[in-house]
Symmetry: C2
Subunit: 192 residues, 2 copies
């Protein structure tokens, strides 16, 4: 009993090690630098060990994404709660969102851009994901009016997502980001 418990514990630790190594490698050098060989070398195990923990590289990225999402949720919540007044809260959440995407692009990509099969808009979605979406929803709630709150939140979120991804890929000029966010806020942060 105790032996098996120890083994499972060690296994879980190694799994955490893999996820963390993948996250660090991705954040430092981008996802294209995260190869199974480099990852294996970094955790000081051979390649096939990775496959005893995860189905494949995509599953490793999905695990990193879920963890990263928890960080995002925390930052969104902090922004929202620090602000006073609903307009300020919405702006704070938008800023926190932009800031996260800017500071941790690899993580943002894993969560929102990479093609990785995480369940999203369903009850089976990871708790961290629902928490992050929940923060957005609470910030949007005061401005819902007659609109469906969930759909309104999804639309606002899409706006933020579009802004940060198009900017990061060089499709929108970086210097005007704040003004674009302000426009988005003006259009969503009012009773209509």
């Amino acid at each position: 009993m105790s032996i098996q418990a120890r083994r499972e514990r060690e296994r879980a630790e190694r799994e955490r090690l893999i996820i963390e190594a993948a996250r660090e490698l991705a954040e430092n050098e981008g996802w294209e630098a995260v190869t199974t060989r480099r990852l294996a070398e970094r955790v000081e195990y051979s390649q096939p060990v990775l496959y005893s923990h995860f189905k494949g590289k995509d599953a490793i990225m999905a695990a990193v994404a879920v963890e990263g999402c928890a960080d995002l949720a925390v930052e969104l919540r902090a922004g929202r709660l620090a602000a006073d007044g609903p307009e300020e809260a919405l702006a704070a959440v938008a800023d926190a969102y932009s800031s996260f995407a800017e500071r941790r692009p690899a993580l943002y990509d894993a969560i929102f851009s990479q093609r990785v099969d995480l369940p999203f808009a369903t009850p089976e979605a990871p708790a961290a994901l629902q928490a992050a979406f929940g923060e957005l929803r609470e910030a949007v709630r005061p401005f819902a009016g007659d609109d469906d709150l969930g759909l309104l939140t999804e639309t606002f979120w899409s706006g933020l997502h579009g802004l940060v991804t198009l900017m990061r890929d060089g499709r929108l000029p970086r210097e005007a980001h704040a003004r674009r966010v302000a426009i988005l806020l003006a259009r969503f942060g009012s009773g209509l």
Copy 2:
């Protein structure tokens, strides 16, 4: 003179052949199926020939993107001009945009998602790209109010882009797309 002209013509034809083959392959089987080997086989030349036309695979994708953008511009324009009234025009453009992304996801990806270094928000941006953006801008213009028209258009575009990409990757439920677009239109298609 004539000989060189013929050679250049043949070369240009072959380049078109490559671009078209890449586009078809991508639209039929996705970009991950577009490998230099398959592409070479399809145009009935050897692999290295591709590299005498394009710097690499990314450049081929960029070429496909520019062509696809012309198609997008045409569809946006058709939608805009067929509608009467500014609200209807904005809705028509949004629908045309969504429809393009839905019908031709590989093309949409090449233009707006893939990391490919096309100049975007600069005067050197391809004409087709500027044309497509221009259609959005004209549809948005009646609702600019005090906002900068360019920035407002970029923000509206970001909203559309976020909606279609998040939906296509399974991060937003497909069935509510029309309602989300309606919300976006309600927030951008009014004098504020």
